[in-house]
């Protein structure tokens, strides 16, 4: 299974973790589990985990990316978040 997704998220909007998702820290990053659709997703970077955890403290996704992700990495992380959204883990707030 490929976790590559095209970046489809509108970064000018605010996105948050679905309330049905639990996150568990692991040495490689974290596991995310959606209790509703039963999807288990591996977050393979601590930065991604920090980003996901902090989403609801920023006005919109651009704000979170500006604060937590190096400019050169921005599109990679936007892509990762898009794939989380496609798995139902994120929702617009």
């Amino acid at each position: 299974m490929s976790d590559v997704a095209t970046a489809t998220l509108d970064a000018s909007r605010a996105w948050v973790l679905s309330p049905e998702v639990s996150l568990r820290d692991e040495a490689f990053g974290a596991l995310a589990y959606h209790h509703g659709n039963r999807r288990l997703v591996f977050l393979k970077s601590p930065t991604l985990v920090a980003l996901v955890r902090a989403l609801d403290t920023y006005e919109n996704l651009n704000g979170a990316l500006d604060a937590l992700v190096a400019p050169a990495e921005r599109s990679r992380y936007l892509q990762a978040l898009s794939s989380l959204e496609q798995s139902g883990l994120l929702r617009a707030s």
Binding site: S22, R24, D25, F28, L31, H35
Partner: protein, 374 residues
């Protein structure tokens, strides 16, 4: 799956908590399947009490184990079955439970349908009564189908039909698929292990090498069919099957048995794979610190498979399958797709198969009383 290989290495060194925790609630069972992994039948008087079970659920929730796989024995024969399921779900621990369906009547189906975060697997090992009942016992096919009918009538949603693949049902794969579709159910296939009572029946029941090839190709064409990652020993036949493709024992997987003993996986209820007991220091301590799990997470050796080009695809296969067929853990899997396991089996000297630590099979009467007349 090269993209995931570093993650797989990481998994082999273990996680903070299991991904796949199986908890057998009871050794009591009203069936006596010939391949039962846990040699179930009689209830063990040392079974965890309701209070102990609830405190274990608290600990599971605290460890952020997202869901538990509940089995047995037959979990529904525990009088506190619903109480425990509802307690787990309320603690945000999802429950996936396996049942033979005999206790799943219309009222139970309605109650289950009203519970969130619950998945049900009904075991069925043949698509018709003769095939199924030869393994699971007379009347078990009809009982499982009745349970499915009750779930469908209660609008439970997509339950799972869980099939252990044997020599006698590989030819029924398409029919199983059709049966599942007729209920809007999901099909789940798992590997027959020579564990529990399977020690005695594996030789006669496990699929042939040709059948395993058929099964592999059938699965590759149907990524939607669930397998519990149990066929990774077949991955050297081509592209890897969906899943982690590694032995997760003590690394991402473990088993808690009805008396609180923690084993490396559901298929190795044997002293050699016993890591500790939840009644002593708690489950988290066993998971994180037991000597057994620590050693399973250490860099393994490829053993006899080191020179095989496919080692990265199957990692030598299933530890339990080797152990209970009398092979060394460094030997190839007994069902190695290249036949190396068959060679190793043929080379065993003085085969004394390991016997499970806990055998709760009902004792067979040596005499039969029958009423004459009347």
């Amino acid at each position: 799956m090269p993209a995931n290989s570093s993650l797989r290495d990481r998994f082999e060194r273990g996680l903070a908590a299991p991904i796949c925790l199986t908890w057998e609630l009871t050794y009591a069972c009203n069936l006596a399947c010939t391949h039962c992994l846990s040699s179930s039948g009689r209830r063990d008087p040392r079974e965890l009490s309701t209070a102990e079970a609830k405190s274990l659920i608290d600990e599971i929730a605290a460890m952020q184990i997202f869901y538990i796989n509940v089995g047995g024995g037959e979990p529904m024969v525990r009088r506190d079955f619903f109480e425990l399921v509802e307690y787990a779900v309320a603690a945000h621990v999802g429950v996936k439970f396996s049942t033979n369906g005999t206790r799943l009547d219309a009222a139970a189906a309605r109650r289950l349908a009203a519970t969130d975060y619950l998945d049900i697997q009904i075991s069925l090992d043949g698509v018709d009564a003769p095939t199924n009942d030869a393994i699971r016992g007379a009347g078990s096919y009809a009982a499982a189908r009745r349970a499915m009918d009750h779930l469908a009538a209660a609008n439970f949603g997509p339950f799972k039909i869980s099939v252990v693949m044997t020599r006698h049902n590989v030819a029924q794969l398409d029919a199983f698929e059709a049966l599942a579709a007729s209920y809007g159910a999901q099909l789940r296939l798992t590997r027959l292990r020579p564990s529990g009572r399977g020690v005695d029946t594996w030789d006669a029941l496990h699929p042939t090498r040709a059948q395993n090839r058929d099964l592999y190709h059938w699965l590759v064409a149907r990524p939607e069919v669930l397998t519990g990652d149990s066929f990774f020993h077949l991955s050297p036949l081509g592209a890897p099957l969906d899943g982690l493709n590694l032995c997760g024992a003590g690394r991402v997987v473990c088993l808690i048995d009805p008396i609180g003993d923690v084993y490396a996986c559901p298929f190795v209820i044997h002293e050699q794979f016993l890591a500790g007991n939840v009644r002593d220091a708690g489950f988290a301590t066993v998971w994180r610190e037991s000597e057994l799990f620590t050693s399973l997470r250490a860099e393994g050796s490829a053993g006899a498979c080191a020179s095989c080009g496919a080692y990265d695809a199957c990692r030598g296969g299933c530890m339990a399958a080797k152990f209970f067929t009398g092979l060394e853990l460094s030997d190839p899997d007994p069902e190695c797709v290249f036949g190396h396991g068959e060679t190793a089996l043929a080379q065993r000297v003085a085969v004394a198969l390991p016997t499970p630590k806990e055998d709760h099979s009902r004792r067979v009467a040596l005499t039969v009383r029958s009423r004459v007349g009347g």
